[in-house]
Symmetry: C2
Subunit: 470 residues, 2 copies
């Protein structure tokens, strides 16, 4: 077995044959067993090899999801919910086979309640689709993980991204969900009140459960008013340490950053070349402020002063949409930019998150580790949260590189956990990070297992994810 | 049985006798069975009669809590965690007897990580104690439910209060907990990273679980930098409707309110008399902004314009600490002020929360209901969240009044749930709201029961709360 191959689960061939037969008859053209469709639904964006489902079904509403779950439950066949496939830790793999439930047909925006700053959407709606739809309302949905992920997938992995420092993560922005549970019951976890103390927080339990406890059929999401003004810019620093200290001071002064992104020296080199930015290749912060015209001006100036006191700057900021767009396009294109550092390689992204006081040290030790490992691997981070990504440029045909990358990721996770951090700030556990969960949370993982057993006693919902075998 | 009496649970006299014997021997002076101490630990702040525990123990650390839980688990005796007794729905009652675990000796502030804007505290620390301790650090803990509750109790009920519109509720401000579970294991639910996607969100599951799933032994809390400037004031409106519409516009413009509190006409009458405020008795908003000097000035002026456009004002605001303090003291004293409306009566407080678009209607119908019921019952609300309280002034010796109040509360909850709201925005379910939970969340309550069964199979942790008998 390849070191990166996650354990296969026992396949129940009889059950799978029965379920594929039933679903074929029931869903006709909306059920696929062809290899290319199955491959699309198990592609992974990691070095973990694909594990294909036995069929892919495209439901159009919650009742159909209920039907699918009931059939799979009766025959104890795995169900793997599928958004758009942008998850990074093998979440959509099918280690025991089973049925991939593709949410792309459940992509309706059901209601927008402008006065309440909320909306109800189906799980297959993507964040860009929602924001395009909202364009004329003066509202927007702030969470931006980079990829144009589905909102259901983002909720399932407790995603966040560049704006979490201001607007929180999916746990803070999903007010309630409806979901089909493993026994086929269709529940709602909350109403549209902004807050509630009514019983156990099933919303937050399902958010981040990666499809292992229930399958979302709708999400009630918080929206934000589009700020009157946005200002932002890029600020160079002599070191990652200086940049992190500037962020700490900015947080402590209560200056409300909307985004504050760190790119290390190697990342900047790539972005400067790729996006033709006029900066020197030193660690930089990409910063954005949301507020009134006066507010963002004041905040930008204050941030510039803080940066200067840490040897950074000049902080060139602008409230001009066009100039800002160019900078953030460069930041969003950073994945493509870093690929140019090793033509032909694939970029495998991992993430950890530590208390911000430990961030500079964690990044410094990680840069040293990268050098010693001989990887080309820039670091890009949501530094206001202490969260950073390493993009390891790899040849996935080379088993030695995969083995080395696995060891590197293991060391990275151990380092982050030892600094009171987490093995994943926003990507989730999936298959790739299962082995680090007990290190981080100890006996808590047993209670997660008890919850899984209680809510999905047949272990049919996305089995082989999150919870490591005992 | 009095209509307000919650069902007693079966008492296990043998087990209780054994446990009280063991705890007496183990904890000596720190274990009490005298009636007056037991009465203090079951006092309720509702019309629900007290149900006394059989003993009260004062542990000093997590190891002692583990010991207590193991003894109680072995003999299947209930354990009722006790903070300071300010909960409002009979949370600390002991319907099946058992042991009250008083957290007042676990009141140490363990660490303050100023750079990370977080701290770790024991559950018996009160919010005022924490903020006094933080005074010289430039940081504060923002959640303010009114009472000087313990932070453990606030986490247990998912409390919030006046500042939730800006800083969220306890769910947003507890980053992780350590807790003793029903089997005696001591777990941590997270590390100090600002965000994590590592597995099921046990933090959010325990926050709001009212001591029924685990007993907190420490809390990791987010802190905030004390804002450079604070401005605020009181703004009168011709109607509750106009005030609510002003709040909706303010939210939509993205003006960051730190507090926005509604007091209805009757509430203002009481407060004007009690606190000698120079206002006319019409519905008022108490508003506060946190930010820079320029920022709070701009926000106050903008809010004044919005208020005027809805027929409100003048909005007299100030950034002077002394003047603001007088207003917020009046708001915080509102409970005592409203008591003067019916001398000798007790004020029983209930809460619901609805989408803000429905708030004006919900309050109008509730005011009408109050008039028809003949109650004196002012309304005070955290209007930015759609959350409001009714303080019913009652003679608790009069069974007819209790019966009428129960009916009123039932209608209020039904009204809120029908408007897509919740039967409790911040007080929790306890005993008092159990009967409304299924109305609000349907089959979800069955899954809460499964979780309770999985994590506390002997039903020893605060039994008879949250989950209504089937």
């Amino acid at each position: 077995m390849n070191i990166a191959e996650p354990a296969l689960l026992k396949r129940d061939e009889t059950g799978i044959a029965k379920v594929t037969g039933i679903l074929k008859q029931r869903f006709g053209e909306r059920f696929h067993t062809g290899k290319s469709v199955r491959e699309q639904h198990a592609h992974t964006t990691t070095y973990i090899p694909s594990q294909l489902p036995d069929g892919v079904v495209f439901p159009e509403n919650g009742d159909e999801i209920q039907e699918i779950v009931r059939v799979c439950s009766e025959h104890e066949v795995p169900i793997i919910p599928f958004g758009i496939g942008s998850s990074l830790e093998g979440h959509v793999n099918a280690p025991g086979g089973g049925i991939s439930v593709d949410m792309s047909q459940m992509n309706r925006i059901l209601t927008v309640n402008a006065e309440d700053l909320d909306c109800v959407v189906e799980p297959g709606v993507t964040r860009e689709q929602l924001n395009t739809y909202l364009r004329d309302t003066g509202l927007f949905f702030p969470i931006d993980p980079g990829a144009n992920a589905t909102l259901g997938g983002m909720a399932a992995t407790r995603a966040s991204g560049t704006t979490a420092v201001r607007y929180g993560t999916m746990k803070d922005n999903v007010m309630a969900v409806t979901a089909v549970m493993a026994d086929g019951r269709h529940i709602k976890t909350g109403q549209r009140a902004r807050k509630s103390s009514a019983g156990y927080d099933l919303t937050r339990l399902l958010v981040g459960s990666e499809g292992t406890l229930g399958i979302f059929t709708s999400l009630t999401l918080k929206l934000q008013g589009i700020p009157q003004a946005i200002a932002g810019g890029v600020c160079p620093f002599p070191s990652v340490d200086a940049a992190c200290n500037a962020v700490i001071d900015t947080c402590q002064m209560g200056i409300p950053m909307a985004r504050i992104e760190l790119v290390n020296e190697l990342g900047m080199q790539a972005m400067i070349n790729y996006s033709k930015l006029e900066y020197d290749p030193s660690p930089c912060l990409f910063v954005e402020f949301h507020g009134s015209d006066e507010g963002v001006k004041e905040q930008s100036e204050l941030f510039g002063e803080i940066a200067e006191s840490h040897g950074g700057g000049p902080f060139k900021w602008t409230a001009q949409a066009e100039e800002r767009a160019k900078l953030w396009k460069a930041r969003h294109d950073s994945y493509w930019a870093v690929l140019t550092l090793r033509p032909g390689a694939q970029g495998i992204t991992t993430d950890v998150c530590v208390p911000i006081s430990r961030l500079a040290q964690c990044i410094a030790e990680t840069e040293e580790d990268i050098r010693e490992s001989g990887f080309i691997a820039p670091i890009i981070g949501h530094v206001g949260d202490g969260n950073f990504h390493v993009v390891v440029l790899m040849d996935l045909e080379n088993p030695d590189e995969i083995k080395a990358a696995e060891s590197f990721v293991a060391r990275l996770n151990k380092r982050a956990v030892a600094m009171d951090g987490t093995c994943t700030g926003e990507h989730g556990i999936g298959q790739g990070k299962m082995k680090y969960l007990v290190d981080e949370l100890g006996d808590s993982v047993d209670f997660m297992r008890e919850i899984k057993r209680a809510l999905d006693p047949k272990n049919i919902l996305n089995p082989g994810k999150i919870l490591p075998p005992k």
